[in-house]
């Protein structure tokens, strides 16, 4: 056990879908499920961290308050944070830092979102100062544009094929079909994926994750609190990474027009995406070889392959081999996205990184049902948020 360990006593999620209801409804359902899972009452919670949503007006900007009020004000301190797709990891980090500082014992972390249909778009109005607005205006660079650039690069560098990308979607659909929280509970075939229209070629409609409504919550406590509560061997959070890039960042990233220039200062040994999980491994004193499963951010099916390499499951260029020989399927050496991943969920931005950790918690307790990874003792999540937010959580039991 590392000195930075905290316990996960409860995990809860509202099913992912597309209903257009108030996001707070999904978050509250997730909190209630996580509290019941932990066997705790709301008045025992001494801190709340809400992951913000930027698409649901003011209550979304002060998510901590929105959820604390919804559950009933008890006068406790609250926090709200936003880090795009990495919001959940940052919320978890705020919670555990407070616990490790001895300033809280029993914390609720929650994120929920209600998303519009279609492409995510920048804020409205003439926003000539906002790079997120300008990339749409000047380049037509939607989010899938960046996914397409990375995917095409993989094909040129490593010989990935559109069939490999389809295979990722098929694998994840097999994983997620039995997950009651998933939005898309359907088995896809390679023909389904390869028959869907191109969005950002070489990526097709079924290669790219949808946007979803959903909510996820965790009850995180100090190890002492868990012991007093009668949980001798809880799932532990042993490492959290919320790192930012090191200059110069040389891989093109949303929402930028350019990478940093590497003309003056040399690029760091590890790319940004390579350094995200590494920081969590380092804190936990563990490595990729110790992991039994991983939940990674498959914004596109091709991006899942990048993550195999970024989190150290294999060397650059070897991800297709790992996929093709079944290593990353449940029953293989290192199952990736046993939950079904974003391919089965679609993305509910501030909830997603928390949902990844919910899956680790259920897997490490042996409660994942048909998608259980046998004997799982350690797992890692990885994800990256717009504007340089790393996100990785490593759990052990």
């Amino acid at each position: 056990m590392s000195k930075n360990d905290v316990a996960i006593l409860g995990a809860g999620m509202h099913e992912w879908g597309k209903w257009g209801r108030n996001f707070a409804e999904y978050g509250v359902a997730a909190i209630k499920e996580a509290m019941a899972d932990a066997g705790l009452e709301w008045n025992q919670v001494d801190f709340v961290v809400g992951g913000d949503t930027v698409r649901n007006g003011y209550p979304g900007y002060v998510a901590g308050a929105t959820f604390a009020k919804a559950m009933g004000w008890t006068g406790i301190p609250i926090a709200s944070c936003y880090a795009a797709c990495a919001t959940g990891a940052q919320a978890i980090d705020i919670a555990r830092t407070r616990i490790l500082a001895g300033m809280a014992d029993c914390v609720v972390v929650v994120g929920a979102d209600t998303t519009p249909k279609g492409f995510l778009a920048p804020n409205k109005g003439e926003r000539g100062f906002d790079p997120d607005w300008l990339r749409f205006r000047l380049l037509g660079a939607t989010n899938p544009t960046y996914f397409g650039l990375w995917a095409q690069r993989r094909m040129d560098l490593y010989g990935a094929t559109e069939k490999d990308f389809a295979h990722v979607k098929v694998k994840n659909s097999r994983h997620g079909i039995s997950n009651p929280k998933a939005r898309f509970k359907k088995l896809y075939t390679e023909e389904d994926v390869l028959g869907s229209p191109y969005v950002s070629q070489p990526l097709r409609l079924f290669d790219i994750c949808a946007t979803s409504d959903g909510g996820a919550a965790l009850v995180i406590t100090s190890m002492d609190f868990a012991k007093k509560h009668g949980v001798a061997n809880p799932v532990r959070i042993s490492g959290v990474s919320t790192i930012s890039p090191t200059f110069p960042q040389t891989v093109i990233d949303m929402p930028d027009f350019t990478t940093d220039s590497a003309a003056g200062m040399p690029a760091p040994d590890r790319s940004f995406r390579d350094s995200i999980a590494y920081a969590a491994y380092e804190e936990a004193g563990l490595g990729p070889e110790d992991m039994d499963l991983a939940e990674v951010y498959d914004l596109s099916s091709a991006l899942e392959l990048d993550w195999y390499e970024n989190i150290g499951l294999c060397k650059p260029g070897e991800a297709e081999g790992l996929l093709r020989d079944g290593s990353t399927e449940i029953g293989g050496r290192i199952p990736v996205n046993p939950s079904g991943g974003l391919g089965c969920f679609g993305e509910a931005v501030p909830a997603q990184a928390i949902a990844q950790v919910c899956e680790l918690a259920w897997q490490l307790r042996g409660q994942a049902g048909e998608r259980q990874v046998e004997g799982a003792k350690a797992g890692i999540t990885a994800n990256q948020g717009l504007f340089g937010h790393g996100s990785s959580v490593l759990c052990t039991r």
Partner: protein, 145 residues
């Protein structure tokens, strides 16, 4: 009367038809270039007090990757009417060692390019009104010097 050509975004590019260039900053103390000029300080760590010199960036580089978008992007993007698929290219500038995104020039298709290929910058009309054509940069395969 011919319309006046102006940049679609002020201060980002020159209007030299034959040899257009993006306008960036150079921080000579770290040898680092910046584009676009979003904040007037060097983003190289430890060089926040460095003087920035406006420079025109090299307009040739190697194709890093590309993707063709088959759906109409949401506003504020500007699309052809009726919509036509368009390709976005990522090109690493030779001297500045930075990757710059841009659409592929009209008349060039994704079938004409491959990763590693030498590319060059051209001017292209993004939209127009009664008096002006608003110009943006695009990429095309490089012509021999």
């Amino acid at each position: 009367m011919a319309k006046t050509r102006v940049p679609a975004i002020e201060g980002w590019l020159t209007m030299d038809e034959d040899n257009p260039q993006l306008l960036g900053y150079l921080d000579e103390s770290s040898g680092t270039y910046f584009f676009p000029k979003d904040v007037s300080i060097s983003h190289a760590p430890g060089h926040a007090d460095a003087e920035l010199k406006e420079v025109a960036l090299s307009n040739r580089g190697k194709l890093w990757s590309y993707t063709t978008n088959h759906y109409k992007p949401p506003e504020p993007a500007i699309s052809k009417d009726p919509f036509e698929p368009y390709t976005v290219a990522a090109v690493e500038l030779n001297d500045e060692r930075m990757v710059v995104l841009g659409q592929l020039a009209d008349g060039v298709s994704a079938d004409d390019i491959e990763v590693g290929m030498e590319m060059q910058l051209v001017l292209s009309t993004l939209y127009e009104d009664d008096e002006h054509e608003y110009m943006v940069w695009k990429w095309k395969p490089a012509e021999a010097n």
